[in-house]
């Protein structure tokens, strides 16, 4: 037994004045009476009281001293060594993704999960170390391993709900990685289970993972997709595509469209279970501002996925620079009504003035990092450099869901020569050929980059209808990030938004207030987009807006997971040996309180007698 706060024992010194007061209290009051004749017997009776009766008279003082001693001891925070398992390493993984905002908790699932976590923290031993990881758009360590329960509780109380999709697997992997090398690792996952995210292959090792399920219900209607595109019939009009889906039980839903807060249109639909329902709203070309889509359905439990926003920019032509291109390509680009085409024979112009996108059909100059550009062929300066001699090849597979491959059939294209590439340069293969990737695309330094591993002029692709379609897709994809799309700028909540800028200082305001903007190397970036809604970014004199939406089938499918199957690491926690320390102030304080009740009872019983 030892004391964590020995100074608390000083409270015991109050026993001295307490005893003194008690004896001062018995200093007798002198009362003159006619005669003490009849009182003598009383005095004799009291003097001859039994030891027990005398003890009873002092009982109150003894009880009071005992209460004081217990309180002093409790303030001293005594801890006792206890032969039990060694301290545990407890990792709390708290799911705060959008689905945890479902209103079948107390009131939300996140609140219920937080309560469970707080209860668990309250039951930890002094020797236990605990860590808090939250899973929102990303897994974040909110409190590293600590024995300070107050810090853990404070961190838990500060956890706010996210409206973004998250990965429980990422959170659990982080938890397991941080707990490596520790004994008796317990991972407590407070979550509704993350829908169908596969967790069974987690490298749990010796750690025990326990799910504390949150939520009970499954009924939810959600907006799962929102897309704003130019009308195929008129460049002056745009269309808003909305896809909603009902989970759990069928329902009737209404989708309302608001433009700058004014109700613009309403469509009602029956919402069968698990079947996407698409709706199209027509928008005038001059419309601009904030678009808000609201889904109203009976018994809906998750509000986060019932609203989606779009920042509707006025239609603006894309400034596209073609460097060293051939006439066919220039002609195809010029036919795109969205594009204002600039051509330049050399690469110098590419870095001289800002363009929304630059297409190189020749060497790529340095200094393009952070800008959106396409390298149409295996040219020097491309992210993935060609190696070896070009050889004829053919397309094997391609990502049919990628915007770049939309409506383009790559299979019949004859590639006269394609170069093998030295890696992917940080890009992702989109079209795979016999000898390696034929088309790569991805983000580099905040800008979008695509690269062709073959020379299009040495293939029959320019002769095919797929070539202008591919250029159309490429311009759309490359300029989507530049904020010039007539379709409006939309991202999924939790993903970063960035744009090229010449401004040195930028500020951004989101649905929850001001959010940080990082301006670095000509690129402004907003990382904190976990709240769904419209974000406004001020880049010098220029103002930009984008919308962040949940739009996540995984989060909207709120049926909770009640079991967690981890293939590996089913080992139960079996700490052995050692001793742990347990604080005793709580039982001491409770005992003191009980004695206080006894003292009160004795005092009043005596008064009544």
């Amino acid at each position: 037994m030892s004391l964590l706060a020995p100074l608390g024992l000083l409270l015991g010194l109050l026993g001295i004045p307490l005893t003194a007061l008690y004896f001062l209290k018995v200093r007798r009051r002198r009362v003159r009476v006619p005669s003490t004749l009849l009182w003598a017997a009383q005095a004799r009776a009291q003097r001859s009281a039994t030891p027990f009766e005398r003890f009873q008279r002092k009982l109150l003082l003894l009880v009071q001293l005992l209460i004081l001693a217990l309180l002093a001891l409790a303030l001293g925070r005594p801890v006792g060594e206890e032969q039990r398992g060694a301290g545990r390493a407890v990792v709390l993984v708290l799911d705060r993704t959008a689905s945890m905002g479902a209103l079948d908790g107390s009131p939300t699932r996140l609140d219920a999960a937080r309560d469970q976590a707080l209860e668990l923290v309250g039951g930890l031993d002094l020797s236990d170390e605990a860590e808090l990881i939250t899973v929102g758009a990303a897994a974040v360590v909110e409190a590293p391993f600590t024995r300070d329960r107050a810090a853990l509780e404070a961190a838990l109380r500060q956890v706010e709900p996210s409206e973004a999709e998250g990965s429980l697997r990422e959170g659990l992997e982080l938890a397991l990685a941080l707990a490596q090398g520790r004994q008796g690792v317990e991972v407590h996952l407070f979550s509704d289970g993350g829908a169908d995210e596969p967790l069974d292959t987690l490298p749990a090792g010796a750690a025990a993972i326990r799910l504390h399920p949150a939520g009970r219900a499954s009924k939810n209607a959600a907006i799962l997709a929102l897309d704003l595109r130019a009308s195929p019939t008129s460049e002056l009009e745009r269309q808003l595509f909305v896809t909603v889906q009902q989970f759990g039980q069928a329902s009737q839903g209404e989708v309302e469209l608001y433009l700058n807060g004014q109700l613009a249109s309403v469509q009602a639909r029956a919402l069968p279970v698990d079947e996407p329902v698409s709706l199209v709203f027509a928008l005038a070309g001059e419309a601009q501002g904030e678009l808000r889509v609201v889904l109203r359905a009976d018994g809906d439990l998750l509000p986060a996925d019932d609203v989606a926003w779009a920042a509707l920019s006025p239609a603006r032509t894309r400034q596209v620079l073609l460097v060293g291109g051939d006439r066919l390509t220039a002609h195809a680009l010029a036919q795109d009504p969205r594009v204002r085409l600039h051509t330049a024979p050399s690469a110098d112009a590419a870095t001289a003035a800002p363009y929304d996108a630059t297409l190189f059909m020749g060497p790529v100059p340095p200094g393009m990092l952070g800008q959106s550009y396409a390298v149409l062929g295996p040219h020097p300066g491309a992210p993935a450099l060609p190696i070896g001699e070009p050889r004829p090849t053919a397309a094997l597979t391609w990502d049919r869901a990628h915007p770049l491959t939309r409506f383009v059939d790559w299979e019949p294209v004859v590639f006269g020569s394609a170069s093998a590439l030295d890696g992917t340069g940080g890009l992702v293969p989109v079209v795979q050929g016999l000898s390696g990737p034929l088309l790569l695309a991805g983000e580099l330094g905040g800008g979008r980059v695509l690269e062709l591993a073959f020379d299009p002029l040495r293939s029959d692709l320019p002769l095919r209808v797929g070539w202008p379609v591919f250029l159309y897709n490429a311009v759309g994809w490359l300029t989507e990030r530049a904020g010039v799309s007539a379709e409006g700028e939309m991202i999924r909540a939790g993903t970063p938004w960035s744009t090229a800028t010449t401004a040195q200082i930028a500020t951004a305001t989101g649905p929850g207030g001001e959010v940080p903007v990082v301006v670095e190397r000509g690129l402004a970036r907003v990382r904190d987009t976990e709240r769904a809604g419209i974000y406004t970014v001020a880049l010098g004199a220029q103002r930009r807006a984008f919308a962040a939406n949940t739009l996540s089938p995984r989060e909207s499918r709120i049926a909770p997971r009640t079991t967690l199957e981890i293939r590996a690491g089913e080992a139960a926690i079996s700490p052995t040996g050692g001793s742990s320390r347990r604080e005793w102030w709580r039982p001491l304080a409770w005992t003191a309180l009980a004695l206080l009740g006894v003292e009160w009872l004795v005092y009043h019983l005596r008064r009544r007698d």
Partner: protein
Amino acid sequence: MALLSPELLARLTRLRLGSRRRVPGAGIGSRPSPRRGQSQEFADHRPYVPGDDLRFLDWHVFARLDALWVKLFEEETDRVVQLLVDRSASMEGEKLDAARRLAAAIGWIALGNTDRVLLAGLEARVAEYLPAGRSRRHAPALFHALEALGAGGNTALSDAIAALPRQRGGSMALLFTDLLSPEGHEAPLRRLVATGAEVHLFHVVAPWELRPELRGEVMLVDSETGEEVPVSLDDAALDQHQARVLAWLEDVETTARSLGVSYHRVSTAAPVEALVLQTLRQQGLIL
């Protein structure tokens, strides 16, 4: 302060002091004597014997029965009513006040019946003494002496009674006391009874003596001896004390009755009018 109001005195004027027994007096008074006398009040007949005063022959009886019977008359004697008031320190306050008022009332009645009334203030000795006087002319002196009677001194009633002047003839001793004396209550009563007087004990008790309004740790100081008695007073202790006092009162009454002493308990809470006009009349002391 007047001991008795004029209204009360007027009401008491019509009363007279009774007696439990006949006592021979030192002179002619209005009290019946065991000796048959020559008063106007017929007492009995007895057969005539030579030498009897022929004036007392009952000629009516002789006419009807043809027998000589002599009428016997009550011989009326006076007596001394001794008002013995305990004026010790324990009587201080309402108890002495009640004793003085009661003594004044009884003295007033007695003086109206040709009794001789004396007053003695007792403590360890006879502290005050007003010799016996007759008729209500004596009343002012009696009342003045009663009013001047102050409390003080220790109680030793036996010694004080022994120091009282002896009275000739029959006497009635009315002792007003709380009997709170270290010598106990029996000794002074025995001493008084031994004087041959008809003894009436007026036991003065204050209600708060049964259950004083005291709580906690108290040092009780005896008003006469200065003795200190420490007691812890709570409800239980007060209950015990009350039971002891009641038992003591019972004991005093039993002792008094066993000695032939009339026992009258006087509560200081009761007005003197009620005591005299109701209680004592019911007990036959006042007629």
